[in-house]
């Protein structure tokens, strides 16, 4: 299984938005020469801006849901999910770019539509979330990394967990192990 139910809903929302924008593009700027049409298109564009400002949230839902499913061991093919998530982030960026372009074209016809700054901010937020997701999401080891890991084991380079976590916590091993026992007792209480 790749993308999950919430993922599919996010996917559908973004695809619908992108398709609608492509269709609007097909209508052409020629129709904007007519003032009534241009005015109606401008109002629609304001609504589209509002919809597009939700794109980072839609992508957040996709990220959260994908991670929840990973944690629940419900994802068989991590790489497929990663590809699908990447595709939706790319789609989100395409939509945001397209809407900013449309606003700029309207401006060239003398109509001011607010929202380019907010859309650019939405684009940046989505980029940051995408980077966080792919920093977290497991990717397969390369052949070189696998060989390197085997060699590290043979050289005895691995640090024992008691020692490693004591270092991380900035205490000695005995203090760390006491801390663990205290935590276990607190959990039981």
């Amino acid at each position: 299984m790749g993308i999950n139910t919430i993922g599919r809903i996010s996917q559908r929302q973004l695809r619908t938005l992108e398709e609608a924008l492509e269709a609007a593009h097909g209508d052409g700027e020629d129709s904007w020469k007519d003032e009534k049409r241009r005015s109606a298109a401008a109002r629609d564009l304001r609504r589209i801006v509002r919809l597009c400002l939700r794109i980072p949230e839609t992508l957040n839902d996709l990220v959260d849901s994908s991670i929840d499913h990973l944690m629940a061991h419900l994802i068989d093919d991590r790489e497929e999910t990663a590809r699908e998530v990447r595709e939706e982030f790319n789609r989100g960026q395409r939509i945001l770019t397209r809407v900013i372009e449309l606003i700029e074209k309207f401006a060239a016809h003398g109509d001011s539509i607010q929202g380019t700054d907010e859309l650019r901010d939405a684009s940046e937020r989505a980029k940051r979330r995408e980077a966080e997701f792919f920093d977290f999401w497991p990717r397969p080891l390369t052949a070189e990394e696998f060989v390197e890991a085997q060699e590290a084991i043979q050289r005895g380079e691995g640090i024992e967990l008691d020692e490693a976590f004591a270092q991380i916590a900035g205490v000695d091993r005995e203090t760390w192990l006491r801390r663990v026992e205290e935590r276990k007792r607190a959990r039981k209480a």
Partner: protein
Amino acid sequence: MSYRVTVQPHVGRKIAGWGLSDGVLVEVWINLREVLPTAPTMFLRRASEPFDGMNFEFWMVDPENRFRVHSFAFQAVYGQDEETILIVRGAYMRREGV
């Protein structure tokens, strides 16, 4: 049979950089030190063939803030001695209000 789990030094440094509270850090230790070694075949999930990388993922609600969720994804390899598991990568994500 219980495996011996170790971490590569760079993974230890990475965990240190996550800024985990003591409570969460102890839970990570428990998962790696006590949960994983007892039944690695149950907890480790095979990554892509043929490199035999394994994934160990778990999450927890923050002991001090139930609206905060900590998710961890570790990658490991078995040693050829079949007694050692080396953690070679670790990733962490903190999410609020999930």
